[in-house]
Structures are given as structure tokens and as C-alpha cells.
Amino acid sequence: MLISYNWLRELTGTVLTPLELRERLTMVGLAIDAIDELEGDSILDVEVPSNRPDCLSHIGIAREVSVIEKSKLQIPTSKVTKTEGRAADHAQVEIHAPDLCPRYAARIVRGVKIAPSPDWLVKRLAEIGQRAINNVADITNYVLHELGQPLHAFDLARLTDHQIVVRRARAGEKLQTLDDVERKLDPDVLVIADATRPVALAGIMGGLESEISQTTTDVLVESAYFNPDSVRGTARKLGMDTEASRRFERGADCANVLQAQTRCVELICEIAGGVATDDAIDIYPQPLPARSVEFRPARVESLTSLRVEPGEMQRILAALGFVETPSASPTVREGSQAAGASTFVVPSWRSDVGLEEDLIEEIARHAGFDKIDSELPPSNMAGEYQPVEIKRRDLRRALRSLGFDEAINFSFIDNAHDEQFALLPGLTTVSESAAERLVTLQNPILDEATRMRPTLLPGLLQAVRHNLNYGTRDISLFELGRVFATFKQGELPVEREALALVATGGALTEGRVQAEREFDFFQLKGALEAAVDAMGLGPLTFSSAAIAHLRPGQSAAIFLDDETPLGSIGRLSESLAQPYKFRQPVYLAEIDLSSLLESRGRPLQYAPLPRYPAVVRDVTLLVGRDVTFAELKQAIAAAEIADYAGVVLVGVYEGSNIPEAKRSVTFRVEYRAPERTLRDEEVEERQRKLIDLLLRKFAAELH
């Protein structure tokens, strides 16, 4: 809202400079974005809060200034000197939609001469960014900026039967508005019509055909109050935002309708000549009730800690237009009598005030927020991190030290990914169509991003592509974030937290160009295991599985404690790598972090240190390639060999000197007796027993 400093001075006699006003208005809640210094005037750009439509006018700002300066507001006097006849003799007004238009007033000025506005008016409007059109149109605009009431002037001769009908548009009706756009109307739109057709969009913009022109002699001046929701709805639907709609949709001053109209008519007579009617046709069947608010002065201090003198409270409220009334029927709240409760009638222009707290705010902002003390509340509570938050921190830091950078992607993704990825176990029921299974946005902002992501993977793959495009070849990223799926139509969707990892290229060493080694399945698996371990959770187990987005033979399902399915890991499938144009292997993992975080952590418990040394023996077996390490390990652990204390992998060999269907696996088995050192021959005997068992069980050979 642009405010002219000179104009403001006429209304308040302010002695503050524009810079001082900027500071003072800002501190009562009317921030000044900028001051434009013009020749002979300064223009203040006021950021008016959305609940203060009264401040979308010079009088509104002036009222605040007069409270600040303890000065008297000089409201422009309106007196039409030359009048003749009754308005009803020249026009008729009917309101067919009183819910959308509670009040409509029309007054006629006859015999005007349409001409350019005088210089002072053109200049004043120009200073606040308004283009001059002609004297009558400019006067309505001037009064709008002065008093905040939008007005419209019709060429009376163009109104069929000199009739005004305020009604909903009929289906199929059209209106050419002043901006020369043909608007298609429907019954949700409130229009001003004449006897036959719409002539204006109520509270938004007039029509081209009834506009004031050079040939206009008789003018009908409209001043009305329209329902804010109706104006907002229509303006939004038609994509319009006008000086009038901006004020009506936030709430105009229903009681100011006649006063503003009189002011406008006075100026028309003065500037454009003509004779006004003695009165206006004022249709106001159900006057809006005045609101009143009960006020306990002691509450000012209890809510803000400010100590304001009662006299000063009275002054602020009175200057803002609140009128104290003796509470005739005191519906006094409990305990408020002692506090000296009173009742204030809210001025008609303050649609934002309805509660005691609103009055407290009025007093506090004019007493000064800067006068409020600054102190911490009494300390009587202990802060707390949620346990899962601490685990998340451990997880992030572990992944960081493993070389992963943290990514954050938008929560909405392209529906092209609908069928590409295997989702977290149990996230959705697989039988339904994607549209039913996934959460879809009604109103996406990025055209292609219509789904709330059910997986973090597409975002990470996109990030890999982005980084490859910019020449980074070695990329490892992780992301923590929610994934979404429909639980049941009409119910809140499922939200689960997921952890996803992606890696491609090599694991780098700082300061050297050559990757230490290329990323492979086991690197990613190890990183995931290490990160989960850092939270004190797990262990994870892995079993070969076919996963939609992963390459067969290099993909696995992930489980917690061998039973709870958590997610998947592996190399991106060829069919998905192609559209991304990946020419190097990309490895991915995604797990259900919510489930993992809900799981019980490993108890930390001291175990006594062994008193006798362990003895180790290596064994190398030639086994079929379908025999997994996990099976072998499991069999060794289950073999119940005396004094068995553990097994670790030494290495796996496949290739030239090994038969094609086989692989050679070397283990190191550890034996330890609790009360003595084992003798060599005892160890040999146990190891032989174990080997015999493995050879039988897996049809293996010693290698």
C-alpha cells in the first residue's frame, strides 16, 4: 500500500519526518518496506497485515499515526452543497442476493462534464502509482485511497431502465470488463446488473459498456459492502486482483458506505460540475450487528508483562475508535469484576477484533513491544531428545565417516516411477493400481511431480545423474526421509521413514585422484551394516532375492534378526540404468528405518575375558557355487564341535584353476577351552570332525 506523506500530513498534522514515521509505524505493526523520495513528497510503501483492511487507506494509516503522536485525526468533511431531487426518482436498486451483498447505496449526479482531472488530482494519484483516467473515475479512486471504500461510477444512461439489480450471474452470461476481457460468468459470481444484463463484477471491476465516457452526463455512484468470501472466490476464480477486490475480500467498512459516497459525490460536484440528488438509495435490510468485547485491564500485564497506566489504555483504545460502554447486562466472566472489567464496542472498520486478546494487542503494540521485558521463563522442565533422534544422529555421522554425502530431495516425484521400483516391505498392498496404492497430489506445483514418493531411490538416482552431468564420477549419497502410501481410501496415508544409499564410481582418498577401489556390492553392504551398527541396532541379514529395480544375481533382500524384512540392496538393473544413461555400475539400498528404529537395541553387557589362548585352524573347501557363505557358517556354528569358539572368512576364490561350477572358500576356525590350553592333537581331532561334517553336508572337497 503506497501512502503519500503529504496526504498523511493533511489528515494528521504529523510532525514526524518520513524516516521517523517509518520507524514508528513499523513498531506498531505497519512495516514500511521502502520510502520513495519524490519532488515535494515522500511515498511510504506500507506492508499492511492481512487482517487490517482498514489500513489500506490514508485515513487508516493516519489513525495509527494519530495514536502514535497523540494528535487529532482530521477526517475530511463531506458536504454536498448543490442537491436536487431524490435518487429514487432517477433509478431503482434491488438486492436479490442479500447474503452476498448486505448493503448497496446508489446516488446520482446529473449534468457532469467528463474531462481530465485537475493537475493536483492527477499528481496525487500518480504519486501513489495510480493512472489518471478522467475526472469522475479518478475521484472514485481518490476516495478509495483516502477512506478505503471502493466506489464505482456508472454512466446512468447506459443502465437499461436505470435499474441496478445485485444478483448472482446466470449460467452462460458474459461480461466485457474494463480491462477489455470477456468474462464467462456462473451463478457463483455476484454481479451488478441492469434490467437486462450484468454491468459489473460486484466488488471487483466494472463493465466496459457502462463505463464513464466523454459523452456521459449523468452518473450513478455505487457504494456497497460485499461479502468477503464471495469477492475472494470470484476474484481467484477469474484470476483478478484489483484495488477494490483487495479491500472487499479482506473486509470493508459496512458503516462507512454512505460517508465515502458523500465524499465522492462532493468531489464530483466540485470538480466535474453537476447536481447531486438530495439522498442516496440505501438498501441495507439487515444491518450488521456491532461487536463488543469485554476487557479486563489486568490481563494486559498478565499476558504481556507490560505495565500500562489505565489512562493510557483508555487513550489508545479511544483513539483507535473503540468506545467504552457501561456494561448494561454484564455477562461478566468469573473473577473479572475485581479486575475492573469493562466493555468496548469495536469500530465498524476493525473486522479483525473480537476477543479480549485483540484489545490487549492493540494496547501492547501502541505501548511498545520494545517496552516489554526480555527474560527466560522460570526453568522447571528438562529438555529431551527423542531416543530415535539420537540414533538418527549416530546414523548420519556413521555414514558421513564412511564417505557418504547427505542428500535431500523433494517429497513429490514423477508418476513415471510408479512401477519401476520395489517398495519397502509392507508399505503398500501390491494388488491395486498405482493410482490407488500411492498418494497423489490434487494440485502439484511441478507438473510431473504428482506422487508423494513411495521410495527415496528415484530422487537419489536423479542426483547421481545430475552429478555425473557436472563431471563428478565418484558419488556416494544417502538420504533419510518419509515415504508415503495409501493405507485405505479416505484415511490418512501411511508415512514411514526410509534410509536409502546410492554409490557409484570409487571410494576416494582425500587429495588423490585415483579411487582407492571401485564401488561394488560388498562395499555398499558393508557401509549399510556399519551405519546400522553405529546405532547399536541390527545385525542385518541378507539373502539373494529378485528385486524389481535391481540386477538379477546381484540383489538381495535385507532382514533384521533373520526375520523382519527391511528392504533391498544391489546393483541397479540394466533396464533402469539405460534411461538414466549410466555407463558405470550403480549400487542402491533402501531400508525401512521406522521399523529398524522401533527395534530393540543390542544390550551392552560385559563378558569376562578368556583366560586361556585360542587355537585357530584354517580349512579350504571346494564347494558348489550355489552353496552360500551364510549356509557354511551356519552349519559350522550348528555342528556342536567341542570348544568351538567362532569362525571367520579368510577368502573366496573363483576362476582359472577352479572348476567352473565351484568356488573355493577358506575359513579360520577358532577353538578355546574355558579352563585350560588345548593340546594340538585335541584341536586336530575337533577340526577333522568338523571337516568331515562339512564334506558330507555340502558334497565338498578339501582344496
Binding site: 494440485n443 552429478n467 484415511e491
Partner: protein, 380 residues
């Protein structure tokens, strides 16, 4: 009994040994000089063919010097044999003969010791030079990753508020209309509800447009008194540009107790900003409007860059706008089951993304969600 010999007969044998020494000594004499003299290296030339390294020649010279020492002074040397014969020298001459032998021994042993010391030193110097490391080469340092700046700032905010007695809460990102609007006293016709500003799912649920939703849940679950912050992801239908994203991160705080006033709000926000931006930070509260607070205030803090004198970051105002706050609206308290006649509270909210942009001088916040590692790797 063997015949006695006199000194006249003994001396030629001493002289013969000396003469033999002098002949071979010729090759070693350079090594009496300090090893850094050029003649020292030249003297090594006779200890190996051209083309073998100085180190090899020096090792060879050392070996030969030791052999020479053994030959001249060892147990099987002529000197040693001669020493055994001294008892055959006539008693009167025995003293003189002994002195001559001792003198010869010293004459040979002393320079050879010096030669050995110098050669060892010379070899040591070469070896040290060969084994010397370039300690400025990069250490064996696995590349570590980097946390997202939003995580870094969010955690810092969390730490400050936990230390001030707040609990950290989080809730759903897709919410019902009730929690996203109604419970926050946002009227049915408020523009924020329009599909212009808020995302809706096809089932009519809202993507939360502020984390205040969490406050309502927390008040309902925990009741008053209560102190909590809710950091998290929120959504508004803004087209991405350098200062907007349709998704961003926010932290909202809530303190409800008996006797809470705006002074506590000011004190808390000021304390937070001092810890975040430094002890010299000044906070300013301006009246404003939010449906869920009354009175409402926006807070600014003194520009951390220019200290208030005006610069690019603060658009020459000396102040940086950061967030909104106020006393919790009685309708919000009542709606969450808290009696506004008994309890009062304050709430505040601020954008984490904006804090990130301010703290790191980021001029285009779209970078936050592009995941360009050249960006991410600039952070901790």
C-alpha cells in the same frame, strides 16, 4: 735359549712394517678429510668401476679399510708377530724397541679409525638422503562425507532448545484439515487454505504447511505445562526460484505454562539468537498478524554481517527478518484441551532453510535440493 738380539737388528723389521702400511695407506688417505670435502668423494673413485654409485664405492672402501686394519693390526699381522719377539731383545734395548712398536701401532691405528668413522658417516648421510620422505605428500585419508547444511543447522537449533528445557517432537507430514488449519484458528475462508497455497492429496488431506500441527498433537497428548520444538519438512505451493521452494524446513517452538508472558517469548527468542549468531546479537519484535497467536510479533535480529550499519545481507536496514511469534491464541489452547484462563503460552517459528541461506551466504536456495556434491561437500 735363543740368542738375544739388539735394537739395531730389531728396527729394520719395524721399518719394514711401516713401509708396507704406507704403500697401501695411499688409497685411504683422502678419508681422513671431512666427508663433505670434494676430495673425499674423489678418493672413492679407486674403490670401484665408473658407473657404480658413490654409496657402493663407500661401502667397498669401508670393507677394504677394515681388511687393511686387520692386515696391519690384527692378531695375525706382522706387527703382532713382531710383538712376540720383543722378549728376545736384549734387556737394555727392550724399552726402546717397545716404544718404537707402540709408536708404529698408533701411527697405523689412529688414521684408520678416523677413516672408518668418516666412511660410516658418509654412508649414513647418503642412506638418510635416500630414505627421506616428502612429508608434504597427502596423508592416507579416506574421503569422508558431508552432512546436509539443513541437518547441521537443524541439529544446532535442537541442541540450543534442549539445553533450554525443550523436548523435540515430530509428527505427520500429511495432515487432516483439522490439524493443519482449524486447530490453528485458521478460518475456513483463509487464503492459506486455498489450493493455490497448500498442497492437497486426492483424498483431500493437506501436506502440512507448518509444523505447528505437531504442537496441537503434543498439547493434546502431553497437556500443559509443555515446552517443545518441532523441526520438520513443510510444504507450500511456491514455484521454485532463488528464494522459494515448494518444500522447506521449519522449526516451531511452544511453551505453555502458568504465568507465561510476552517477556518470556522475547527472552527465549533473544537467547536462542544470541547462541546462534553470537553474544552481540540484538533482537527486535514488531507487531504482526498470525491467526494462531494474539498478540503476534515478527522478530528481526541485528545483522550479523554488518552489526547494524547496513549491508547487502540486511538490505541496508541493519535488521534481518527471521520469523513469526506470539502468545498462543486462546482458541488454539482451548482446541487442544488447555484452559486459557489458567495457562498461557508463546509460540514461535522460523525457516531453517532461511537460516542456512543467511549463515552460509547462500544466494539461491534451490541448491539445497539439487544434491550437487560440489555444493554438499562445502559443508561439515
Amino acid at each position: 735359549m735363543t740368542a738375544e738380539i739388539n735394537f739395531e737388528d730389531f728396527k729394520p723389521r719395524v721399518d719394514a712394517i711401516e713401509e708396507a702400511f704406507q704403500q697401501k695407506w695411499e688409497r685411504f688417505r683422502y678419508f681422513v678429510l671431512e666427508p663433505d670435502r670434494p676430495e673425499f668423494a674423489e678418493g672413492l673413485n679407486s674403490f670401484g668401476p665408473e658407473g657404480i654409485s658413490l654409496l657402493e664405492k663407500a661401502k667397498s672402501a669401508l670393507t677394504q679399510a677394515k681388511e687393511f686394519q686387520t692386515e696391519m693390526l690384527g692378531r695375525k699381522s706382522r706387527l703382532s708377530a713382531l710383538r712376540k719377539e720383543i722378549r728376545n731383545v736384549a734387556a737394555a734395548d727392550r724399552g726402546v724397541a717397545g716404544q718404537a712398536m707402540t709408536r708404529l701401532e698408533l701411527q697405523m691405528s689412529q688414521p684408520l679409525e678416523i677413516v672408518e668413522t668418516h666412511l660410516n658417516h658418509f654412508i649414513g648421510t647418503i642412506l638418510t638422503r635416500q630414505e627421506a620422505l616428502d612429508v608434504t605428500l597427502p596423508g592416507w585419508r579416506p574421503r569422508r562425507g558431508h552432512l546436509h547444511p539443513i541437518t547441521l543447522v537443524r541439529e544446532r537449533i535442537e541442541d540450543i532448545f534442549v539445553s533450554l528445557g525443550y523436548a523435540i517432537e515430530d509428527g505427520r507430514e500429511i495432515e487432516t484439515d483439522f490439524y493443519n488449519f482449524t486447530a490453528l484458528n485458521i478460518p475456513d475462508n483463509h487464503p492459506a487454505r486455498a489450493s493455490q497455497d497448500t498442497f492437497y492429496t486426492s483424498d483431500g488431506f493437506a501436506l502440512r504447511s507448518q509444523t505447528s500441527t505437531v504442537q496441537i498433537h503434543a498439547m493434546q497428548r502431553r497437556g500443559a505445562p509443555l515446552r517443545m520444538i518441532a523441526p520438520g519438512r513443510v510444504f507450500r505451493r511456491d514455484t521454485p526460484d532463488p528464494t522459494h521452494n515448494p518444500m522447506f524446513f521449519q522449526v516451531e517452538g511452544l511453551c505453555v505454562d502458568r504465568g507465561i508472558t510476552m517477556a518470556h517469548l522475547k527472552g527465549t527468542v533473544a537467547e536462542f539468537l544470541r547462541r546462534m549468531f553470537g553474544a552481540q546479537t540484538v533482537t527486535r519484535f514488531r507487531p504482526s498478524y498470525f491467526p494462531f497467536t494474539e498478540p503476534s510479533a515478527e522478530f528481526d535480529f541485528s545483522c550479523f554481517k554488518c552489526g547494524g550499519s547496513g549491508c547487502r545481507i540486511c538490505k541496508n536496514s541493519g535488521w534481518i527478518e527471521l520469523g513469526g511469534s506470539g502468545m498462543v491464541h486462546p482458541n488454539v489452547l482451548r482446541g487442544a484441551g488447555v484452559d486459557p484462563e489458567e495457562f498461557s503460552g508463546f509460540a514461535f517459528g522460523l525457516g531453517i532453510d532461511r537460516m542456512v541461506a543467511l549463515m552460509y551466504g547462500l544466494d539461491d536456495i534451490r541448491l539445497l535440493f539439487e544434491n550437487d556434491v560440489r555444493f554438499l561437500r562445502q559443508f561439515d
